[in-house]
Symmetry: C2
Subunit: 515 residues, 2 copies
């Protein structure tokens, strides 16, 4: 077998059996190998940002890496923004990036570029395979890196001749690392803090702590000790909805985040980091905790936070009896105009059991949490790297990882346009994804920031860079162009109806919410 086949067989044997692809000439031997070797599901994206975002979504829902197939430096470059988001989400991905044959690189053909240089900023593991006999072992090492704790973006660069030359066979992927445990000392310290100053303590949780089980344990601890539980502004995945502990997130807007944290004298970090502002602003702090607040780490990313929370609950003697009832919003279908409140309420009513909510709603969605806390149980996925255009690709990977669950993507019109090509892959694979586009026809988050700059009303040139209303984007036409049925809604009743139908029907649907 050639190098390409040895790599594909190594990947399938190593449990990497989904490949999100946008291949080119130099990857044709790899494509031919994919064709020959059974067991790999290949999903084509029309743009590489779709491919890498899908791999992120797959990992978040499946917990095990998918691979990507990208064409040389520029193909990788097109996928970097969503690799950035994936890296910040601690998702594991195996990127296979084609390269010229080793002996051809020096000739500086048009597509030649510094692929390793491009890969490093968004990858934790980068290797160029030197020859066909190394490819299988390099692939196994990439898989091991992607599956490590914490998981990694692993980028394996595959020169064309290493794909077409004769290989030595398949390589074994090293046994998976056990999910790391936790530090009993750190739990004891957290328990001491909660005993001493429960009311003044914030349990700031993310990662595995935001599973249904982790949240349930935190709810008991909060009920017993009077501490507050929050998540960071953005979280890779969080269990939400009826019967689950509903927690606040630190507000994105710094002037609202600071008062949320002002009362705390202690922050206990559960996989999260000491909270920082998303951006810096003149004369405002970068760190969000109040002066004098002490920060203690209970678990790091990749540690077993559920076990740590269980130990902490034991240490503070918290049990199910300590849980305080939650005041949940009433789920009533809204009527009338589309406002932030009616949009949130309509979505909360429409969420089906076990849905996967992919949230890139930005300004429109800042109030989505309170009403959806009362919705049917679901998972809620957010953008960890801040590079917009993550949600429509992410939903592809989530839908492929969980074919029996409905995915609902909530995205602003500006964000949706970065990776709009996602809709085509959703149609091609007939994925159960409802894409809700909030069409306010402005980069509203930037309009707010322009105000913060204190430059007054934007003039023509600034508006030219902020407003999306000239011409109006027609998302129903865009969806039609890519084979996804869509409809536009202009009031809450239409939105309720469109949501109910889209959720009930299999396959992809798009709803343009005209605000």
């Amino acid at each position: 077998m050639n190098g390409a086949e040895s790599l594909v067989r190594t990947m399938v044997k190593g449990g990497v059996d989904v490949c999100f692809t946008n291949p080119g000439t130099s990857e044709m031997h790899f494509v031919a190998a994919l064709d020959r070797v059974p067991g790999m599901r290949c999903v084509l994206g029309l743009f590489e940002g779709v491919v890498t975002g899908a791999a992120d979504g797959y990992f978040r829902m499946k917990g095990t890496p998918a691979s990507t197939l990208l064409h040389l430096g520029p193909g990788l470059a097109n996928g970097l923004a969503n690799l950035h988001n994936a890296k910040k989400a601690n998702s594991g991905i195996v990127n296979i990036v084609g390269q010229h044959a080793v002996y051809h690189i020096g000739y500086n053909a048009p597509l030649t570029s510094d692929i390793e240089g491009l890969a490093r900023p968004m990858s934790s593991w980068v290797r160029t395979s030197p020859d066909a006999k190394s490819v299988a072992a390099d692939g196994a090492a990439a898989i091991a890196a992607a599956k490590s704790a914490p998981p990694q973006i692993a980028t394996l660069i595959l020169p064309a001749d290493t794909a077409w030359n004769e290989a030595d066979g398949i390589a074994e992927v090293p046994a998976e690392q056990q999910r790391a445990s936790y530090s009993p000392q750190a739990v004891e310290q957290a328990a001491r803090i909660l005993h001493g100053d429960g009311e003044g303590t914030l349990l700031l949780m993310t990662g595995s702590a935001l599973s249904e089980q982790g949240l349930a344990l935190a709810e008991r601890i909060a009920g017993k000790t009077g501490c507050t539980v929050m998540g960071p502004t953005f979280r890779p995945k969080m269990a939400r909805g009826r019967g689950r502990f509903s927690i606040d997130r630190i507000h994105y807007v710094i002037d609202q985040a600071l008062p949320m944290l002002a009362k705390f004298r202690h922050i206990v970090l559960v996989e999260s980091d000491d909270p920082v502002a998303f951006f810096a602003y003149p004369n405002k702090p970068s760190m969000l905790k109040p002066q004098g607040c002490e920060v203690h780490r209970m678990t790091s990313w990749g540690e077993n936070s559920v076990a740590a929370l269980e130990a902490l609950a034991g240490a503070v003697k918290a049990s199910a009896r300590d849980v305080k009832p939650q005041a949940l919003a009433e789920l009533v279908k809204p009527t009338g105009a589309l406002t932030f409140a009616t949009i949130a309420q309509a979505i909360a009513c429409a969420i089906p059991e076990n849905a996967i909510m992919v949230d890139e709603s930005l300004t429109t969605g800042r109030g989505f949490f309170p009403p959806t806390a009362a919705a049917a149980p679901h998972d809620w996925l957010q953008n960890m790297g801040g590079s917009i255009g993550f949600s429509t690709p992410l939903s592809i990977g989530a839908a492929i990882a969980c074919p029996d669950r409905k995915v609902i993507t909530m995205v602003g019109d500006g964000s949706a346009m970065y990776t709009i090509q996602s809709l085509w892959t959703q149609a091609r694979e007939n994925l159960d994804i409802v894409t809700i586009v909030f069409a306010n026809r402005i980069y509203q988050i930037l309009r707010g920031e322009f105000d913060n700059v204190g430059a007054g009303e934007p003039g023509q040139r600034a508006n030219d860079m902020l407003r999306l209303d000239r011409p109006t984007l027609d998302f129903v036409a865009l969806a039609k162009g890519m084979g996804v049925p869509g409809r536009a809604v202009t009031n809450a009743d239409e939105f309720n109806k469109a949501l109910a139908e889209a959720v009930a029907e299999p396959g992809p649907r798009l709803i343009e919410v005209q605000m």
Copy 2:
């Protein structure tokens, strides 16, 4: 004035007065400065690949750099593929990339990444401005780098606090370098080669040699000495059409390129490089020249090739009387089915005087050169870096650089989808661009390469990665979604009619050629 304003004023004074933008929060002080300072035209793209590709097109037609405005590492990353293409075209661009405030970078906020690391592979000049008082001088240095000979991709990283803090004023851009001259010795050597073995010599020309003037001089030299004149497979810009010397390009397909070059004993390079294969293939050479062929460089990129050709014409005593008549195709509007030949003929008939042809037609366009040699005079622009998705953005920059000329973009359906967001900017700016999409519903170039791999007929998984027919892309709907009127054509008569109307009407139009 603050750093942002000092930079904008420096840019406008330095002749950089078009900014292709996709800004974010960290660039709002820069946006506010653009709003206050007159003289900068701001053109918004919905995706950064549109922005950087437009800057490439602007430089190619205007000969002077535009700027881009990009949001942090991921925004730059999204623009890298077309920066790669621009770099390979020797286009000058001033990229302004926002960064967190200097003191905020260490906190590893979600959007933090290694921006310099991302910039280097596709930039020849990279600098992070350290403080507001340095920003103007750094901007001037970036402009000087972009305008140097050969021109450069210059990337200036602008931490937010260097934009909002107080600056020292405007900086002067150093006087432009004169376009380098040429080496009289190299011209004498070329003349000796042509005297000794005219018939066995190939003049391989690109860059400034492909201007109307350069081609006219080469035509005389060829007529006098019997040498052959060709261009590389791809050229940044070439004068073509009636009354201009029509030259062949080295074929993209290596098996056709090798026989084209087989007879030459000498290659004289005029700004071009020793020809190399686009990709490597098993048991095929990387270098395309025949064994024993000697390669001589007459001019390098950035040298004055027109002057060198003039000197060479003088040295070989070539004059207008030596020009051999060219056999041009007859321009007759085609009828019947859409074939490669009828498509080419229809386009040749429709090209208006002084049009700018942007060519990303790939497999469909391989026969476009012979018939269009007889068309009205025009410029022909091609992809220099091989990263697809270059043409629809490039056309934006070309149209803005030359508002009195019609731009015709020829693009395959697969390529068009990488940066389809370009259509919206074309509509927003009401640019005179006709986009012709060749909808063969397959990555045909890869289908051909799959054959080259010798893997037989592609099976299901391979077809899943090559074919675009499930679902069918509807480019008329996509164009409508972004405010561009479009129509689909299915035979040559419809295509003739659609072309004539689109060329006659102002503003953007799209034609989907259903093959």
